[in-house]
């Protein structure tokens, strides 16, 4: 059974004249990290909102087709049950802080309080996530006085504490500086290692190349390409679809066109380095 499955899904926002998602069929498997890329306004966020169960309950509009989360149709899920199954993190660090808690520790605990978790378990879970995310130094701070990067890490901690199996992460670093971005990707890496199923929308294409198992390309509401990350990025024609391709993938392609292809198509720096070192040593041997 697929973990998340979309069957013939189309969706139109209220008052809109065109569909935001058009006839999408896809099955997500447990434990993989899926990169979702494509032009802005192409439907990536709508796709995330759909899987998070916000469509149509929050946005209204017309949803056709079916979305199954762990085998149960999205319209049949209770919102609190969904909250403890799918975590959602998005770009704006400021709106993800509740604004009603005095310390970061309490902020992280909020979701667990709402779920009715007992106090000792809340404390254990919060301590655990704080250690994982290395934010021990922030726990006593007022969450309303943190920087954007710090808030985003607290937002991650708050969702991770809820121990959901699935995480939908929509452009988590678009408002952060390079340091904030690398902090967040460290967390995403950790979550991947823990075996979470992750749907990640991200413009920084090199990071997608490095972390994603599979990539979905969405354009004008349609799923135009999907597949293993290295396969998707080896198709240079994607550039015509308004999608960025990692520089390393372009390099691999150049090598191929020059008649000197790498043995395996490299899409990340470390893969390319490995290939180049190998080629270099081959030359010396000859």
């Amino acid at each position: 059974m697929s973990y998340i499955e979309l069957k013939n899904v189309s969706y139109r926002y209220p008052l809109a004249e065109a569909d935001a998602l058009k006839n999408i069929n896809y099955a997500f498997e447990e434990g993989k990290l899926y990169g979702i890329i494509g032009e802005n306004g192409g439907g990536k966020t709508t796709f995330c909102d759909l899987i998070k169960g916000l469509i149509p309950s929050f946005y209204g509009g017309d949803l056709t087709g079916e979305v199954f989360i762990k085998g149960k149709e999205i319209r049949e899920w209770e919102s609190s049950a969904l909250a403890s199954t799918i975590g959602y993190i998005f770009q704006n660090p400021f709106t993800q802080i509740s604004g009603i808690k005095e310390t970061v520790f309490e902020e992280i605990a909020l979701g667990l309080e709402n779920l009715g978790v007992e106090r000792e378990e809340i404390i254990d879970r919060v301590i655990n996530v704080v250690k994982q995310l290395k934010i021990e130094h922030l726990v006593k701070n007022n969450p309303n006085k943190l920087s954007g990067g710090q808030r985003q890490r607290v937002a991650f901690a708050s969702i991770i504490a809820m121990e959901t199996d699935i995480l939908v992460i929509d452009e988590p670093t678009s408002q952060l500086d390079p340091k904030g971005t690398s902090d967040i990707f460290e967390i995403i890496h950790l979550l991947k290692e823990q075996g979470k199923t992750i749907l990640l929308v991200e413009h920084k294409i090199d990071l997608i190349a490095e972390y994603a198992d599979e990539v979905l390309v969405i354009k004008q509401g349609e799923l135009i390409t999907n597949g293993k990350t290295s396969d998707v990025f080896s198709d240079v024609n994607l550039l015509n679809e308004g999608v960025n391709i990692p520089q390393i993938a372009l390099l691999s392609n150049d090598m191929k066109e020059q008649g000197k292809p790498f043995d395996t198509f490299a899409i990340t720096r470390s893969q390319a380095r490995e290939q180049i070192l190998k080629k270099g040593s081959e030359k010396i041997c000859h």
Partner: protein, 195 residues
Amino acid sequence: MKNRNMGLLIFLIPIGVAVNFVGGQIAVLLKLPLFLDTIGTFTIGAIAGPFAGILVGLLTCLSISITNPQSLFYVINFMLMGLLAGYLAKKGFFTTVPKTIGAGAIMGLIVGISGSLISYFLFNGFGVSGTGVLGGILMGSGVPVWASAFISNMSVDIIDKVPTALVAYLIIRNIPQKTLVKLPNGNVFLNAYKK
């Protein structure tokens, strides 16, 4: 699954409260001869309905009382404004400029009457701010106490509530349709804008 737009109302109400505060503060900073401290109540009441409006009014009154204790006695007035904004908006009153001016005048009038009654019965006819001085001057000039209370409270309220309603109208015009569509009174505005 349950409709989640109830959640949106819960998050809009505190915004109404905070906007009441900063509206009043900006009016002071710009040295305007108006209070403009009920824009949040008007706007949130108008888009989110009478119940939300009443809550904005109540919470505003409670939080404003900390620095302005006399407001506490006018809590009915704070809530009445939210109720009226929600009700009048439902009747289409905030969809055009002339209707908005009408709404402001009606609200100024009703709130003025209830404010005068509060001032008359609780505070001997003296308002608790500048209106008190105005009322006093009228009394000093020989106008009867009840008339002084009414004239001072109502004139101030009408002068303040018409521009307040107009600012609320401008704000509502700029609220994205995708937000309006999720709100109780949203369809009133969306239908009016279509024409």
